[in-house]
């Protein structure tokens, strides 16, 4: 616990360094550059825009430490007045009433991470009726007017994992370990992985022997799937394209039990410290990372641009069924052991760029 406080202190000191390193680390950080060019006007003596971000839960480290923290930080930099972070405890009904309460408090703009994208539509309509613009963060809320979208491209994320896996194992039997089928992102990642793998399946280079979704993103179920896949194929597996770190832990334990850890490439996403350790130990091939801190600060940027009547700095647009919405696609990067593959950085580069997430000491490097 004491480590956390130290981290907080470090953040203040290294704030600017971190951004510089981040820009350096990934060549294509156009969004970051764009963010830096926005004039930091404050409204001076006039009214400050009161804004808030509603997070779906605090279940994952990212929500509070990255998305929420960096939204509020950027909002302050832009001269807005952010409200304290709140979480909807993964409950769409609670989230709906939280939005109503926000409107009662008289906010000027809202960044919403929907618990359920369809359930959030009604809440966004209420905001629009009250002339409060809404930025959809992390997910895309459909069929309703939005001021902007700050989200990763889930399909692209899948493609990145698919590319990494197929480069490491160009032929053989593949196991696909997917997240909870009830979540949009699990299906999008699967779609992206398949976009890369399908041509290889068609050419006969690879065979997908197992392809399953794990309810509640359970690592234990992922382990069971791979145990079954290994038994059914007499350990003849070339790669496990797993789409999240929590699943990869179970997968790797199943491989260890057969003495195969490190011999079969395994992918993951989230760059959790434990996953980074497994990457260093070469038991895991890659863990993909979305710049969640950037996602939070870009949500604040998009909201500010809408409120201040400035042109949007988003790097693309998306038709969500209502119309074209500015979409800032948040960069994704693969973290690998030495970072030599395309679109990838090494674990140490990653740790240096994201000290608020993990430190070199924690990883023992």
């Amino acid at each position: 616990m004491s480590e956390k406080t130290t981290n907080k202190k470090d953040q203040g000191v290294r704030k600017h360094t971190r951004r510089e390193v981040l820009t350096k680390a990934s060549g294509a950080a156009a969004a970051t550059v764009a963010a830096a060019t926005i004039p930091r006007i404050t409204y001076g003596e006039t009214k400050k825009f009161k804004v808030a971000i509603i997070l779906p839960s605090f279940d994952q480290q990212r929500w509070k430490a990255a998305d929420g923290e960096y939204f509020n930080r950027r909002a302050e930099e832009l001269g807005m007045e952010p409200l304290p972070l709140i979480s909807s405890n993964s409950d769409p009904i609670l989230q709906a009433s939280q939005v109503e309460n926000m409107l009662t408090q008289g906010i000027d703009g809202l960044a919403l991470v929907p618990v359920d994208i369809d359930a959030a539509v009604t809440s966004v309509r209420k905001c629009n009726d009250a002339s409060v613009p809404v930025v959809s963060e992390n997910y895309i809320i459909p069929n309703v007017e939005l001021a902007g979208i700050a989200a990763r491209d889930g399909v692209e994320l899948g493609r990145m994992l698919g590319r990494a896996a197929s480069a490491a194992a160009p032929e053989g039997n593949y196991v696909l370990t997917n997240g909870d089928i009830g979540t949009d992102i699990a299906r999008l990642k699967h779609q992206g992985i398949m976009e890369i793998l399908q041509p290889l399946v068609d050419s006969g280079a690879i065979t997908i022997v197992h392809d399953q979704y794990m309810r509640a993103w359970s690592g234990e179920l992922a382990r069971k799937q791979v145990e079954q896949a290994l038994t059914a194929n007499d350990n003849n597996i070339a790669a496990v394209a797993c789409s999240w770190d929590g699943g990869a832990y179970g997968v790797i334990e199943a491989l260890r039990a057969q003495g195969l850890a490190g011999k079969i490439p395994v992918t993951g996403e989230d760059a959790e410290p434990q996953a980074l350790k497994l990457v260093l130990a070469k038991e895991m091939l890659v863990t993909a990372w979305t710049k969640f801190d950037l996602m939070g600060s870009r949500a604040a940027d998009l909201l500010y641009e809408k409120l201040a009547g400035l042109p949007s700095s988003a790097n693309s647009t998306y038709n969500n069924g209502w119309g074209d919405v500015p979409w800032d696609k948040i960069d994704i990067v693969n973290v690998t052991v030495d970072g030599t593959e395309p679109d990838s950085i090494s674990v140490s580069e990653f740790a240096d760029a994201n000290p608020w997430w993990v430190t070199r000491e924690e990883l023992g490097i």
């Binding site: 430490a65 359970s218 234990e220 179920l221 069971k224 038994t231």
Partner: protein, 392 residues
């Protein structure tokens, strides 16, 4: 129903025994179907070993919940309690997110089991002495312990640096398995022999108790099981540690439930709570003890789960309680109390896990596995209800 006196005590099949045999029959049927569908993979020593490791967590908890359900209570807190004890164990190790307190696996296990006992006592206290329905007490824990697990970890994964992996990955050698099985079978035979002696003394002289039915047949079954376990151990890698733990839990809880005053009282409380009180049974104390013992099993399951996944995840075990309750009910435990055996619950768990394992080998979508589990639960409870209505 009258049968030759060769097999069954007093010529009439005891309902519990009949039900257990039916369930074993269904299990064997499922196994044969999968054996055919998977071209002989399902019953290979390797897959049987994997299957038993996979069922260990649910089965340990299913044994425990019998102690809670027999006196007429329920436990909804299982998934959250397992996740909480699991992350607690890892926090003892993790130097960054946790305490970095110890690296002795046995000490970690002991402390975690202590925590499990405390959780059990807390729930037992509210159910037994404060009179809050177990449904509510454990529902409160389901929420609170999940929240606590997320709070103490900050929502992130915690590592135990592989210290607990031995619980899921290590094996006890085949020779030790053979020795342990020999001890188990001899112990079982001796108790069954004394059982037969004691019961023949009070049996109706016109309908003498068959030695084969009372002692020989159960010992034969146990012997066959022991041979199977030893055979699998010799042809694959030995006995998994998690299965040794499960075996010990089954043995201890079965002993408590069937051979001690404590167990008899739990059945009495569940069978007729008022009669139990008038008979002078301290139901509050017995229920409290049952919940407390269940608490230690949360910890054991949490530790094995940590070993299985290699890390501790605060979101682990979601809806695990439902699989555990389903296993116990399929295994013949009544939701209204008074009826149920630990072994039945284990067989129930094995049936559900066999469906998942077999369908997994065939790469059938996990969604269909859930549908199959649901249907099996429904049919099992219907057959159980019908069986009991006609049996009495």
């Amino acid at each position: 129903m009258r049968f030759p006196n060769l097999f069954f005590i007093s010529g009439r099949i005891p309902v519990a025994q009949l039900r257990a045999l039916t369930l074993v029959g269904v299990l064997v049927g499922v196994w044969i179907v999968f054996q055919v569908l998977t071209d002989g993979l399902f019953l290979s020593p390797r897959n049987l070993t994997t299957l038993t490791i996979q069922v260990a967590i649910t089965a340990i908890l299913a044994v425990g919940i019998v102690m809670v359900m027999v006196p007429g209570h329920i436990d909804l807190s299982i998934g959250s309690a397992v996740a909480f004890t699991g992350v607690f164990a890892a926090l003892l190790v993790d130097p960054v997110r946790g305490l970095g307190f110890t690296t002795d696996p046995l000490l970690i296990c002991a402390i975690t089991i202590g925590l499990g006992l405390l959780i059990g006592m807390w729930q037992g206290f509210w159910v037994a002495w404060m009179g809050v329905p177990a449904f509510i007490v454990t529902l409160a824990s389901l929420l609170a312990l999940r929240g606590a697990a997320l709070t103490i970890t900050g929502g992130s994964t915690v590592t135990h640096n592989g210290l607990l992996t031995f619980l899921a990955a290590d094996f006890i050698s085949a020779s030790w398995t053979a020795i342990a099985m020999a001890v188990v079978v001899s112990g079982y035979s001796i108790t069954k022999y004394f059982d037969w002696r004691a019961r023949s003394r009070i049996a109706d002289p016109d309908r003498p108790l068959s030695f084969f039915a009372a002692a020989g047949f159960p010992v034969l079954l146990m012997g066959l099981l022991a041979i199977a376990v030893t055979g699998i151990a010799f042809s694959y890698r030995g006995t998994p540690v998690s299965i040794a733990i499960l075996g010990a839990v089954i043995a201890i809880v079965t002993f408590l439930m069937s051979r001690t005053v404590f167990g008899r009282r739990l059945y009495a409380i569940g069978g007729n709570p008022s009669a139990a009180i008038y008979a002078g049974i301290n139901s509050k104390l017995n229920v409290f003890v049952a919940f407390t013992l269940m608490g230690s099993l949360y910890a054991m399951a949490g530790l094995v789960l940590d070993g299985r996944v290699g890390v501790a995840v605060p979101n682990a075990g979601i809806a695990l309680e439902l699989a555990v309750i389903a296993s116990a009910v399929i295994g013949g435990t009544s939701l209204f109390g008074g009826i149920g055996t630990p072994l039945g619950a284990v067989i129930g768990a094995l049936l559900l896990e066999s469906l998942n394992n077999g369908m997994g080998l065939m790469n059938i979508d996990t969604n269909y596995q859930m549908i199959a589990n649901g249907l099996v639960l429904l049919v099992a409870v219907y057959l159980d209800k019908r069986g009991r209505a006609s049996g009495r």
